[in-house]
């Protein structure tokens, strides 16, 4: 929808990652443009988290290259990615429970005034940013462990806004949220997009993806199974890509022996491509670093 012909903000070319002898990613290539939301889908172990960790500087690549705004980059540590304008909302939120909201928002990029941190400025800025969210936080001086899950999620997302990054990566930002809260996060994603940022959104909720994404990249066993513009694809095609890594394969009929507990009137046992299907639902483990 907002895809342009300008140079991509971020571009991955033939990216691969080996853990010992486990090839978690191979030959992953894609472009990401300003003002678009790219959703990444895939079954458990497909390599989604590994990919975003590579993009965030948590892992270094074993193969391929990354370009940001046309320049080759190599991330040795997360700070390098941050410096290139990439901000990540990790699924475990990556907050320091014992520290207050402001300290978390500015962790790693504290404002300074001479040799000291500028606490007043950080508290002021933190209030400003979170006021922008109109979120009900008791105060920006409350430690994270006193916050509710939704408040924490908001703080984690607000970190993205602090850095002024223009590439935002979110790993299952709604996994822990209920109906209304998920909606608000998705609205923020669209707002970011509309503000000209590029967003990578990992989710297992096809319905949410459909509401939000401009393009969808499906991963399967560490490869890119396919990249589709949402407007040009169907849920059925995406589900097939997720499950078989291929839009055309029909399910192998003896994959799982039928238990024969047949239940008249019950919903079908398997995804049949109906729009009601929620194909993949997953919780990432606490991110390793």
């Amino acid at each position: 929808m907002t895809e342009t012909t300008t140079a991509p903000l971020l571009s991955a070319q033939g990216v691969g990652k080996l853990f010992g002898h486990v090839r978690a990613l191979r030959d992953v290539s894609f472009d990401l443009h300003a003002g678009e939301v790219l959703a990444v889908l895939g079954d458990n172990g497909a390599g989604k988290s590994t990919l975003i960790k590579a993009l965030s500087g948590v892992y270094d690549l074993t193969e391929g290259r990354l370009r940001v705004r046309g320049e080759d980059v190599s991330f040795g540590k997360p700070a390098d990615a941050t410096a290139r304008g990439i901000a990540t909302v990790y699924q475990d939120l990556a907050l320091v429970d014992t520290r207050d909201v402001a300290a978390n928002l500015f962790l790693g990029r504290e404002f300074r005034r001479g040799p000291f941190v500028d606490r007043r400025r950080m508290y002021r800025e933190a209030e400003r940013i979170l006021d922008g969210f109109t979120i009900k936080l008791p105060s920006v001086r409350v430690p994270i462990y006193l916050l509710s899950g939704g408040q924490r999620q908001a703080v984690a997302i607000a970190r993205v806004l602090v850095g002024g990054a223009d590439i935002v990566i979110m790993d299952e930002p709604t996994a822990a949220l209920g109906v209304q809260e998920s909606e608000r996060v998705l609205r923020l994603v669209r707002d970011l997009r509309d503000a000209g940022k590029a967003v990578i959104l990992i989710s297992h909720n096809l319905q949410q993806v459909w509401q939000t994404a401009d393009r969808i990249m499906v991963m399967h066993l560490g490869r890119v199974a396919g990249i589709r513009r949402r407007a040009d694809s169907t849920v059925e095609e995406i589900v097939k890509l997720i499950v078989y890594g291929d839009p055309d394969t029909e399910r192998d009929p003896d994959g799982a022996p039928d238990a024969g507990t047949g239940e008249a009137g019950a919903a079908p046992d398997r995804p049949d491509g109906g729009t009601a299907h929620d194909p993949v639902k997953d919780t990432d483990r606490r991110a390793a670093s």
Binding site: E110, R112, K136, Q151, A154, I157, R159, L188
Partner: protein, 373 residues
């Protein structure tokens, strides 16, 4: 928002009524819409560890709980008041300065240990470090005749080296800091013993003792050093980026790394700090005892740990305050001083110290529980 939801919310964050959000004129329209539902969610939190919540922010907290939170300060005040009425010698300027001088070395070490614990680490080499530093400083002054200022620099360098070796083992090799520093402590004391063949090395050049026994503005140098160390620790931990990063790394190392904090560098800084502070303790010891001894500060790491734990620091990292540690150190110092002034039998002193420690941690645990209720 339904009435039910906002009532629910109000129960948990009373100071922040739901109407709050309506009063804003948001400055960033792009994110303005991400909003009001987030404040009313399950306040117990979903992802994090199950820490107490909710009740921590309500009105009831401001009574007994606050008192329990102030526990160590109250204990200090109570002890001071008790000894004041119990001994005519206690509340004199001279005696109070003696308390300060007596806890100087423990206090300097405790400041370092507090920083290490905030970073989620432990440094058990400090006893060996003091011994080695005192021996090295004495040997440099006496046998090499290099002069006291240079000897002090060499002593601090010993602390830096020990800190770097600890860093290499903990960060480089990846050994748990308790184990790594316990082992290194044995090695370091071995080196100290070998350097003087087990003997105490007395100083004949008295520049260092004279410096430490000097009393600028009527306050002993060692008390000045203690105050400076705590002031500096407090400033660093509260007002500098380094301190904020230490809290961050201790509270959630992986999050701090991903937030761009150079965690290895932070750990190295912490171990070098504990090493240098222990070396400073060794230098003070050399001065106040006019000698270097390979047996000095035997088991000091556990005495220091006791003082720090008395201050109520969390063992999990990411929390703790140097000012509480100072209070813990002073509680021990006042207790030792007061009991000695009152000529309490040394065995009963030991019992009293243990009992105060048990009492302090029991009160701390009770406070923690009330908060978690």
């Amino acid at each position: 928002m339904t009435a039910g939801l906002s009532a629910h919310s109000a129960a948990h964050s009373p100071g922040h009524p739901a109407e709050h959000s309506a009063a804003h004129s948001p400055s960033r329209p792009a994110v303005r819409s991400f909003a009001d539902g987030l404040g009313v969610l399950n306040p117990a939190g979903w992802f994090g560890p199950t820490r107490p919540s909710g009740s921590g922010r309500d009105g009831r907290r401001r009574t007994a709980d606050r008192l329990l939170d102030l526990g160590i300060y109250l204990a200090l005040v109570a002890l001071v008041l008790y000894f004041w009425q119990a001994s005519p010698y206690f509340m004199t300027q001279r005696n109070l300065l003696n308390v300060g001088a007596a806890v100087a070395v423990t206090g300097v070490l405790a400041a370092g240990m507090t920083i290490a614990l905030i970073a989620g680490q432990l440094d058990l080499t400090v006893g060996g470090n003091i011994a080695l530093t005192s021996v090295v400083v004495s040997l440099v002054i006496e046998d090499l005749g290099w002069g006291t200022p240079l000897a002090v620099v060499v002593g601090l360098a010993v602390g830096v080296v020990i800190g770097l070796v600890n860093t290499a083992l903990v960060v480089g090799v990846g050994i748990n800091s308790i184990i790594a520093t316990l082992a290194m402590g044995i090695v370091i004391r071995g080196v100290a013993l070998i350097s003087t063949d087990g003997q105490t090395k007395p100083l004949t050049n008295l520049a260092l003792p004279d410096f430490l026994q000097d009393r600028p503005l009527a306050i002993p140098t060692s008390v000045w050093i203690l105050a400076a160390v705590f002031l500096a620790s407090w400033v660093v931990m509260t007002f500098t980026r380094a301190g904020w990063h230490i809290y961050g790394v201790g509270g959630n190392p992986s999050a701090a790394l991903r937030a761009g904090v150079r965690t290895k560098r932070v750990y190295a800084g912490v171990f070098v700090t504990t090493g240098v502070l222990a070396a400073l303790g060794g230098i003070i010891t050399t001065g106040t005892s006019s000698s270097g001894g390979p047996n000095y500060a035997n088991g000091a790491e556990f005495d220091v740990l006791t003082a720090v734990l008395l201050g109520g620091i969390g063992l999990a990292g990411g929390s703790g305050r140097v000012q509480r540690t100072l209070a813990g150190v002073l509680v021990i110092g006042v207790l030792n001083n007061g009991l000695t002034l009152m000529s309490v039998n040394s065995y009963y002193q030991q019992l009293a110290r243990g009992a105060v420690f048990v009492l302090a941690v029991v009160l701390g645990a009770v406070g923690e529980r009330r908060r978690a209720r």
